[in-house]
Symmetry: C2
Subunit: 359 residues, 2 copies
Amino acid sequence: MLTNKVTDLLNIKYPIIQAPMAGGVTTSELVAAVSNHGALGMIGAGYLTADQMREQIREIKKVTSKSFGVNLFVPTKFTVSFDAIKSSNETLQSIRDELNLPPRDQVVLPSYIEAMASFEEQIQVILDERIAICSYTFGLPSNEIIGQLKEHSIIQIGTATTVQEALEAEKRGMDLVVIQGIEAGGHRGNFINEFEESQIGLMSLIPQVVDVVSIPVIAAGGIMDGRGLLASLCLGAKCVQMGTAFLTCVESGAPDIHKEAILHATEDQTVLTRSFSGKWARGVKNKFIDETQPHQLSFPDFPIQNTLTQDIRKVSGSQKNLAFMSLWSGQSPRLAKSQTVETLIQTVMAEVSNLKQNL
Amino acid sequence: MLTNKVTDLLNIKYPIIQAPMAGGVTTSELVAAVSNHGALGMIGAGYLTADQMREQIREIKKVTSKSFGVNLFVPTKFTVSFDAIKSSNETLQSIRDELNLPPRDQVVLPSYIEAMASFEEQIQVILDERIAICSYTFGLPSNEIIGQLKEHSIIQIGTATTVQEALEAEKRGMDLVVIQGIEAGGHRGNFINEFEESQIGLMSLIPQVVDVVSIPVIAAGGIMDGRGLLASLCLGAKCVQMGTAFLTCVESGAPDIHKEAILHATEDQTVLTRSFSGKWARGVKNKFIDETQPHQLSFPDFPIQNTLTQDIRKVSGSQKNLAFMSLWSGQSPRLAKSQTVETLIQTVMAEVSNLKQNL
């Protein structure tokens, strides 16, 4: 079960994918270390321009000959509500004051058309650089794009939070699907189901998906060690995707205070919020979440809210002030360790061997 | 791993406990069938009087010589808010009209003191009838009661939703602890952590609890088959507690329309609500939940809200009208089957054997 069609397909030794965490976590060092040690490294390219993506891909190619993947955010339609923007700006004002940030009178908001154009530039880089594996979050691209990547034999991976979304990924031609349990850190990947309908624990989600979907399933959410890996395989997944476990590794680009926040957090301290970006995401509770929580349902959609909070997150980070940063984490922070990628992967696989013998 | 200290302690062949579902589900036929087929049957005695409990215990003793357990609701302090009662009655009025039920001008509300007296009567029955295993939901009883049961060598099981609650169960002398993941159907068992902090998926919760707590852990929530059982053991649990899987068995006392609702539900259709009872609980979405959802935070605490909705649930059930019944279910309804207890238990154990060989 440990080496299977999926490890063959992804050309990896172990059924482990490093989750493509966007926003600077997936440094070239991290991605290369993961791929060099037998798992699949992934660039979280959601917030990168095509040029930044190309640059990082070339950098990684210099330090590993192993395959690695790239994850893209599929642009989603969103509503520009001036009331929502006003509500957000009003709520954020006291935080801006505290950080000595000017009020947000003018802001350049992204448009869906611009986002689509950027996405197509990113796709072109995937094709030009002959990337072996491309995964998608927040939905699936057009049939045309999916077909283009298929022609180039690029393996495509969808992200789903429910059976219905996994079925859609299969129907639209994905080779594999990541199913994201409610345990997962960072952004929720639901794209058909509403947020309320897509909060399903992996213990329930994995078997219900694999019973219905024919493509191989990758389990994601709260998996940190050999116990989580073997449990996911028992439930029917063929591979796992681990985020938080890699985020606290020394090679990850997450700020040290973000890593420390996870290393000191407990399982009851992560929370789902839409205050940072306009999409629901899980992170360690802090002052920003507490203060914005009562108003979060009135904030604008992603990526508008993300733009409105950008300077707050940036300044808070540069001041090494946890209070207003997005401290993404899954529900298993007690299992996080500060270690190298090599140690993490080797420990996970040793745990799996031990566990199997004692079952 | 399959027979272990816990199966020895509970005197069962298989590491499976039938969840003590209150409200008529755990018929004597169900409990006896479970115990007779190698797992642990449990009476959900939360809503039973001491006399009803004694009667059922004696009935079960006639049809099984195997050990079985009883679960009690530990009375919790609650606030009587007239505003909350008014809000609830106003919201429920349109439902009462639809069911031709009279308005609720007067209602006999339970008091904490009465609930405590009833609880102590229940404990006396446990002692008198020499019940082998007693589990608690919604908290833990007094040290005096715990000590009394210990003197009689009764095995006591706490219910926890977080590491902190599991530690408290251990500290207070529980022999084992059920940890309830967010996947679980019916009432949430949180008693120290707030609802918002205690929504943790089993993939995260089991390993984080077993790393810290010394007493054996029983996993509960969304576990329906051999995959879930073996996955729970991989994560560090010693035993599982299954609710929904037993609820749809032919021996269970759940109304047929409740069973059918689960058998036709999908994983994205269960939801957490406090509208039925004043405590958060998971069930299949229906008209009652939809209509009360916007107001649920203003409803009174358990058990007041439970009393206020009692006639609605009863009449809805007797009219075989799903719309206003509490259709408790975990997050894995796609895995539910209409079958006998014997078939369920044998299938689960056969699946475990097969899975172990293919790992």
